[in-house]
Amino acid sequence: MTPDTAALPLVPLVPVPIPSPPDVPEPARPVVTAPPRPLTNGALAILDDLLRAPDRLTARLASDRRVETVRVLLLTMLAGAAVFGATLGIHRSWLQAAFAGTKLPLICLALAVTVLPAVVGFRRAARAAGSALGDAGHVLSVFALGSLILAATAPLTVLGVLADFGYHRMVLLATACVSIAGLVALHRLGTLLESGGAGRAVIAGACVVLALVGVQVTWTLRPFIARPTVPVEFFRADRQDLYESLGTTLDSARGVFHERSMVRSGEE
């Protein structure tokens, strides 16, 4: 080795890969969540929560604003059903509109009062957490939501009236509107009960009770649209229940006709 080369640093002929610095994770950025919106007063705020924030509505019902919330929900339930009933009845006459606008809120009230003990009973039987007051709030909010959706579909029935829909088309339209509102309400009922710890059996039981009582009570308080060939009356005098009537209709469809008997109250 010559003195000149001795001082030369040794340079490898093959490039040695320079190790990259170890991956250093970026420091975690603090998660900034928007603070929960405070519960604001006012009927519109309550309706806003009713439509799209059921947990905020539950918080309202548990807070010191529960009286105002219950009042708004009750008024919504009654007013929404009245509006929809009136738009059904207007197809026949103003009197039928007044009758139907009175009967539908009564049906909603009767159903709410009937379904609530069943929900409480099923939930307690399943030993699920919750309270009867909480269940009452849930049931009221579900009926208020259903009525609000019904009222929102009222323009469709008004359109049917203006377009001179016949009786059967109006019945089909009304059925579709009620089905939409009913499905939304049932879904909300299931969501609220599930978030409260109730299982599927409780939810199914509540839905069955609601369906059976709703169908029977609505049938008994008919008519809402009223056939053009019958006089306008608050409700039909015959006491035939839904299943008897279905049987009669099926028989009629098969060509077997029965003499219709009008059973007045008090003659049974």
Partner: protein, 171 residues
């Protein structure tokens, strides 16, 4: 009534068991009254008293057999545990009947006496199902206990249906 267990005396049944028993009998009475009111005071009293008696009859007829069979099959618990579990499960059925009584009342008011009884049968079937499912944990110790429980459920359901229909459709 007390039993001696390892030198300690324990009450056979406590306040919770009494409450559960009261719930099942009260629920049956409320449901029976709601079913029978359409037929008048006589029907109301008949079904209002008859259904709790039917529930008591089912319990007296079937629960002792379950105790004997399960204990003989070698479950860890005692006959008292089986009875307490059955009482608790029956209490759940009573809660269901209490909750359904207003619905039965409304359906009776807007329907016919026959449809009222039909809805009553549905409500009783629901309560019976809840009670039988609620009693299931007592039998989960061994496979033979599970088989005994399934057989017991079938017999109990048959007795319950026969007794309930005699009460509901005899009025």
């Amino acid at each position: 009534m007390e039993t001696m267990v390892e030198g300690r005396s324990e009450p056979a049944f406590d306040g919770t068991d009494v409450k559960e028993a009261a719930l099942v009998l009260g629920g049956a009475a409320a449901a029976g009254a709601a079913i029978g009111f359409r037929g008048g005071v006589g029907d109301l009293l008949f079904t209002g008293a008859g259904l709790p008696l039917a529930v008591l009859g089912v319990a007296v007829l079937t629960v002792p057999s379950l105790c004997v069979a399960l204990v003989a099959s070698g479950i860890p618990g005692s006959a008292r545990d089986v009875v307490r579990a059955c009482v608790k499960a029956a209490g759940a059925g009573g809660r269901v009947l209490l909750g359904l009584a207003p619905a039965l009342l409304v359906l009776g008011a807007v329907g016919t006496p026959e449809s009222s009884r039909a809805y009553g049968c549905l409500a009783l079937a629901a309560a019976l199902g809840v009670s039988l499912v609620g009693a299931r944990p007592v039998s989960e110790a061994t496979p033979s206990a599970r088989n005994i429980f399934i057989a017991w459920c079938a017999v109990t359901a048959g007795i319950a249906v026969l007794l309930a229909t005699r009460v509901l459709f005899a009025a």
